[in-house]
């Protein structure tokens, strides 16, 4: 293994528009760069890696990425806890190069970083928690197709696309800039597969009866919505025929006593549902207003108080969350149920995504 040595950078022209000052400030390290496996081994020793092969972030690759990406490296995108360090475009690019992300994805990655650094998302809590939560990114707008972000078959995982490298970039940034280290600054008991390369998918807007998710949240066009996902759950329904039936099926499936949102210590939370395009057409026909869709899912994603074990039920009662109908609702209001259309045309399944708790979703435009 090559021993790392610090040296002074020698390339002096840089920046997306060409400049005479070296904008790059990261510590230069001399090491093996022409063998991915050797570099990956070195990077793992430095605690930079995730176990998958890493591309060496050479000065040349970083400058080339910046030139295509069209951003200046010293631009501050956000501060990521628990390290509370500044996440600049330069750090994003270095990690994106390592992850194998395309330079054209830089604006999307920057928007996603901006979203996870939004205080409402509580990335600090998310980074440290015993839970298995990971930022899930839903992409809206033409950029979906420009970057090949999947929104049809296998969009939550398994579809071959650059979404994997984009999501992996976010995860590397959480490790290398945010300082998320398992057993040190992160107490996740189990983790989840999305913690390897993130979860990045698009909305199948063209098959949705409703306005795109980001547009409904006030950001039309190219945008990302990040959501704290505890994992994904399958919702199978081979019996329903109408919109209200499908929505009842989805809502009932989401409600189970161990969901984080039912914890008395979780003051509020959201839930998310991906509806396949076949069901979306039926639901849109019968329930054309998205707010009514949210209302129906919300109404059914609730449990009677006696569905909880006594100790838990007692604490829920203390919090005042039992409604007049004797039920406890997964989210405070129907507006807290995020719905979008995605998935293959084989129908049969919806995807439920429970949230970790009080990390609230954030939507940002892609600049």
């Amino acid at each position: 293994m090559t021993e790392a040595t610090v040296k002074t950078p020698i390339i002096r022209d840089c920046g997306p528009e060409g400049c005479e000052v070296d904008w790059l400030t990261s510590r230069p390290i001399e090491t093996e760069v022409d063998d991915v496996l050797d570099f990956t081994r070195f990077a793992m020793e430095q605690d930079w890696g995730d176990g998958l092969p890493l591309i060496p972030p050479t000065v040349e690759r970083v400058r080339e990425f910046l030139a295509v990406g069209g951003r200046y490296p010293d631009e501050l995108i956000g501060v990521i806890p628990p390290m509370n360090t500044e996440c600049t475009v330069e750090k994003i690019v270095i990690n994106a190069v390592m992850a194998g992300a395309p330079a054209e994805s830089l604006p999307l990655i920057c928007a996603a970083v901006e979203a996870i650094c939004d205080p409402r998302f509580d990335i600090g809590g998310l980074n440290a928690t015993t839970g298995s939560v990971v930022p899930l990114v839903v992409v809206n707008g033409p950029i979906r197709d420009q970057l090949g972000i999947p929104y049809q078959h296998g969009c939550f995982g398994g579809a071959p696309s650059m979404a994997t490298a984009i999501g992996r970039t976010l995860r590397l940034l959480m490790r290398n800039v945010g300082g998320q280290k398992l057993g040190v600054s992160c107490e996740s008991v189990f983790g989840n597969p999305g913690r390897i390369a993130g979860i990045v998918l698009g909305e199948w807007e063209e098959r949705s009866p409703w306005a795109p998710l980001a547009q409904r949240r006030g950001v039309p066009g190219n945008a990302v919505t990040v959501y704290g996902a505890m994992g994904t759950m399958n919702i199978l329904d081979i019996d329903s025929h109408s919109g209200p039936e499908f929505l009842e099926s989805i809502g009932r499936s989401l409600a189970y006593p161990g969901a984080n949102n039912f914890c008395p210590s979780v003051a509020f939370g959201e839930s998310m549902v991906a509806i396949n395009p076949v069901w979306a057409a039926i639901i849109g026909r019968d329930v054309p207003d998205i707010m009514d869709v949210q209302e129906l899912i919300w109404r059914h994603s609730s449990l009677p108080i006696d569905a909880f074990q006594k100790r838990l039920a007692d604490r829920i009662v203390e919090t005042g969350r039992v409604q007049a109908d004797g039920r406890v609702y997964l989210t405070p209001t129907p507006m807290d149920v995020l719905v979008f259309v995605a998935g293959g045309t084989g129908s049969l399944h919806a995807h439920g995504i429970h949230s970790w708790g009080t990390c609230l979703s954030a939507t940002k435009g892609v600049q």
Partner: protein
């Protein structure tokens, strides 16, 4: 094999305060603030027990309960924290008994310490390293931590209160307290 120059993908916070901050000192006439939460009944039991000891030693005790930290409630909590640390002479902040709640425990302890008041954060053993790591990454590695056993919240109330009694004096010693009534009685 070819050598080349790569760029460090990490970012490191350089500033750090290694000093633990002022000692608690004499308790008499001081307002001691307990930061509690909406998660840990065990911390409610222990902080209530410790509050009685502090009052017996001549201190005034106030409580502030942290809730949701995002959205509108988060904004209210930020204001509440500001008010809380503004009215106390010392802070006992807990409970770090999970990942995110250790994060917010340390966050709130750092807010009190930044104001210059004697501060101690309370974590359970499993989250001790996380507490120190987050304090360091928050720029104050010297932050005082007192460690309670783990698991704690899974125990019955009488058992937890026993832990609280056992840990009161060690916690006060770590906090730099002088002449508590309990100490005098023990002496």
């Amino acid at each position: 094999m070819a050598l080349g120059t790569i760029l460090d993908p990490t970012a490191v916070r350089a500033d750090d305060i290694t000093h633990p901050g002022p000692d608690l000192g004499d308790l008499r006439g001081k307002t001691i603030g307990f930061r509690v939460d909406i998660m840990w009944r065990s911390w409610d039991w222990i902080s209530a027990l410790w509050a009685k000891e502090l009052e017996a030693a001549g201190a005034k005790v106030v409580f502030w309960r942290a809730g949701g930290r995002t959205g509108d409630e988060g904004a209210r909590m930020a204001e509440g924290l500001k008010d809380f640390v503004g009215q106390i002479d010392a802070a006992i902040v807990g409970l770090g008994n999970c990942g995110s709640c250790t994060g917010w425990t340390i966050h709130d302890a750092l807010a009190a310490a930044a104001r210059g008041v004697p501060t101690i954060a309370i974590c359970t053993q499993n989250f001790e390293e996380l507490g120190h790591t987050l304090a360091r990454r928050g720029g104050r590695s010297g932050l005082r931590l007192h460690i309670l056993p783990h698991p704690l919240n899974e125990r019955e109330q009488a058992d937890v209160e026993g832990v609280g009694r056992e840990h009161y004096l060690p916690m006060m010693a770590a906090f730099g307290a002088h002449h508590t009534a309990a100490q005098e009685a023990a002496e």
